[in-house]
């Protein structure tokens, strides 16, 4: 990268806020996905004004910009695919305002998701979107990816809890969209920006809604001898229009890997378990739990355990939330997917995934948000064996194709990033992608914000073709 750019950044941000040495940049070339891309410089703004100056500089030199929170993302969203400047928000981590009376808060993008809840739970509130990485992921990242989590089945996803944003546009202009209330007149720019994966604007402040903590919670662990019985249970719970607060599936293989590390008390000899949580008013929780237990038993659950206290509940959830980490101990590399299917298609889809695994010779673990049909098949492979990597990608492709064929989606919560950009044409026609490109053109005409994400690489269409810009010293893809 042009040393003048680095010097300019150091001048207005301070040397301690700029990293340019190769060994420092290497720390930021990966995230939670299998992708790798090295930025040319990493900066740590403290204020919106810092971000404005960074964007203005990027414009002057026509250098790409990528935003990053904690780097826990699973689709390569926070990776500088085409090099340039990586803006890390870890120093913009203040909770600016909490308004319990109106159930809202205003926070900077670097605030850790769980910290929002921690700040208000004594008063009886929480921030509902709860990605498994919530102890480290940031709200800015949640907004970029429109993050979900196990409890979004009942409470909704990030976009349902964000009423307004302050953003810096690619032009360097600071803009406020939405506000503290929903339904601001005009186009729903907040709704457009949440989930836009950092390709339309840079978020510098988020106005969120807080939710009252439920009065009662009941956590159940249903244990099965076959995967089919577990998936049929989920389909039946859905069909009865019961909406648990969470309904998570773990297959036996994943379960054993997790138990070896976490010791949550998972049964080592089962084919699958469902971790189901209901919350709300006491009366509602009792009735829902009773009906769910009925459905589990009707579908041959060997046993349904009810967590007897908060400690037991926390342990069960610890197992679920640390599952991918546990898998990482066992396999040198794994490829997690994020497809969504209608709940009615769950049993058939898991059988299909099993068949695909056998076809390509892989162990495919399944640990996912069964309640909303959001699958996370985990394909384990040895990255040193290039043939395995290629087969893993092929297997993943078949799983994705199946999700689309049954009417689902290629991503339920991780985002498209650059990991799934080539899959977009599975879900969207040329016209659909053209509409999205036009939105990006309206907001990010020079294409400097997080290039190479969402859209199939090389996708352009005549007059809205993204201008190619120089790729610098990034790791080759």
């Amino acid at each position: 990268m042009d040393p003048n750019i680095i010097r300019e950044l150091q001048e207005f941000l301070g040397k301690q806020s700029v990293l340019s040495a190769r060994e420092d940049l290497m720390m930021y070339e990966y995230d939670g996905s299998i992708e790798v891309a090295r930025p040319d410089v990493v900066v740590f703004p403290r204020t919106t004004q810092d971000v404005v100056r960074i964007v203005q500089l990027a414009n002057r030199h026509q250098v790409p910009i990528t935003g990053r929170g904690a780097g826990t993302g699973l689709s390569g969203g926070a990776l500088a695919r085409q090099g340039g400047i990586l803006i890390v928000f870890s120093r913009m981590n203040k909770i600016i305002e909490i308004d319990l009376d109106n159930q809202g808060a205003v926070v900077q993008p670097g605030v850790v998701n769980l910290d929002i809840t921690r700040a208000v739970e004594q008063a009886g509130y929480f921030f509902a979107p709860d990605p498994s990485s919530q102890k480290s992921c940031t709200i800015g990242g949640n907004v970029a990816e429109n993050a979900g989590g196990p409890h979004t089945l009942l409470y909704g996803i990030t976009t349902n809890h964000v009423t307004g944003l302050e953003v810096v546009l690619p032009s360097g202009e600071v803009l406020r969209v939405g506000g503290k209330t929903m339904d601001t007149p005009g186009y729903d720019l907040t709704g457009l920006l949440v989930g836009s994966e950092g390709t339309l604007a840079i978020v510098t402040e988020v106005t969120v809604k807080l939710t009252r903590l439920p009065e009662a919670t009941k956590t159940l662990l249903a244990i099965y001898e076959t995967v089919d019985d577990a998936t049929e249970t989920v389909a039946e719970i859905t069909a009865r229009a019961i909406t648990p607060a969470a309904c998570e599936f773990m297959d036996g293989w994943t379960l054993r890997v997790v138990e070896a590390w976490v010791h949550a008390g998972y049964p080592l000899d089962s084919a699958a378990v469902l971790l189901i949580e209901v919350d709300g008013l006491r009366e509602s929780v009792e009735a829902q739990a009773a009906e769910i237990i009925d459905v589990c038993k009707l579908n041959h659950a060997r046993e349904v355990r009810v967590a007897k206290d908060a400690k037991e509940r926390d342990l069960l959830w610890k197992g679920r939330k640390n599952a991918f980490g546990a898998v990482g101990r066992v396999s040198p590399s794994y490829y997690v997917q994020d497809g969504v299917i209608p709940r009615t298609k769950l049993p058939a889809t898991l059988r299909k995934i099993d068949a695909i695994g056998k076809k390509y010779g892989f162990e495919i673990g399944n640990i996912f948000h069964a309640g909303d049909g959001n699958l996370h098949p985990i394909i384990l492979f040895d990255p040193r064996d290039h043939g395995q990597y290629e087969r893993a990608v092929a297997a993943a492709g078949e799983i994705m194709a199946h999700c689309i064929v049954v009417g689902g989606s290629i991503t339920g919560e991780h985002g498209v990033g650059f990991e799934k950009s080539e899959l977009m044409p599975l879900m969207f026609t040329e016209a659909d992608l053209e509409a999205m490109l036009r939105v990006r053109h309206a907001m990010n005409p020079a294409g400097l914000l997080n290039p190479g994400k969402i859209f199939p690489f090389g996708k352009g269409c005549g007059e809205v073709r993204v201008k190619p810009f120089p790729v610098t010293s990034s790791t080759p893809l």
Partner: protein
Amino acid sequence: MSPLTDATFAKLEALVDAGNFFTDAESLAHCTIDGCAPRAALHANTVEQVVEVVRFAAAENLAVVPYGTFQQMGLGAPPARYDIALRIGLHRVLSYDPRDLTLSVEAGIQLNFLNRQLREQRQFLPLDSHFGGFATIGGILATNSSGPLRHAFGTARDFLLGLEFVTGEGVRTKSGGRVVKSVAGYDIHKLMIGSLGTLGIITSANFRTFPLPPVTATYLVRFATLDDALAFRSAMAASPLQPRALDILSPEAARLLNSLAPSGAREFSEEEILQIMEQESKARRERGEPETFGMTFRSPAPGFSEKEWTVLVGTGGNEQVVERHRRELEPMAHAARATAFAQARPQHPLFARIGEDDCMEWSYVRTFPSVAFHLKPAAAVMKINVLPGQFSEFVKAAGEIAARHELASAALLRAAGVVYFALVPSSPGEGAQKHLAQACNQIFAAAQRAGGSPVIEFCPAALKREVGVWGPSRGDLALMRNLKNEFDPRGILSPGRFYGGI
């Protein structure tokens, strides 16, 4: 205004089915918006026809305004240009999977009709409009309509999964998906909500559905002052209770709603009600008025207190949940100095079948904004999003502004954070309109000070020439204009009707 040649009319007519093209004065009068009539009215019965009409309009630079039942067309500024009124006559349920609680419907289907089908599976869609269930899904989405149930369910953006639309260049496009969770691509479908047909014409929409609660009960609670009513609201918000709906009616609003019921009203039988509805419908058709809900036959009169504030609390769930609410709401109400607490009488089964209202009081209250205007056509009815914590201050300020300008006012507060405020001139005439305009502008300012966003939803056409119904523009207007240009480069879709003159 460029003349539409006979050749152009002929080409347009050929784009739709026979008998679905109108240029006679009566049909055009039917499609008039704030005194502006189109040059032709077309009914599109397939998506392909919508595409062809828009493509043709783009090529010929003709302005198109899409509609469903035409009831909500008064929302927004008058169109800057208006050549074609295009009825989106697409009525089908495209797919419904009750076991997955997902649904895909064409935009022209009426909410009532849809909910009736969902009811058969004990499900429903918590959408609503100021015109009750007669509005179409497309119209509800395009106007971002909502009703009392937004308290528990949010608005369309919270359960719309995706939709299909036709751009201003006539390109069929979709956004989102059909499953309950998807983050693939930009949420353009969210942009379409409330866009008033300026970004594209919605042709179909996908939703998640919700189960009907086994039991419901509504309570009517009276308070001497707004602050007491708001104390009750706060107590509920701080408790674990989860009401489905929570509306607060001012005494003046109550008076307006009470006046809807015929005097000397008695209990009607189902056959009589149906007969009255049909008679009223026929009379409206003969007068060339659009089909709309019929309110005049409802009986008995709601009998809202005209001296006190009324809070309506809707509850639902299993029997124990409903019982819990009843047990706890009453002492909570009395702690907030309620002067009366009663359960509403369950709705006549006929209306329970048509809508979800468990009691007739909701049927009145949910249509308050349009009813207020229907009864007082010289009024301005505003919708202001205000945080509940600011309700008291704002409503008082608005009331004072109204009084200073010799205007009567009526308010409906929806606990989710919306105030509907009607300003009513006591006597018609030039002076009254000036006062009304001034009052509206002052209320816009008061709303902004309260951190809220105001819009005039209903008002006389003449007022729209003096006051921008969308309120003052904000810094995000330039971006919205850019987006408009991308989706409708020739500016033919509902030009000039939207926020900022878009």
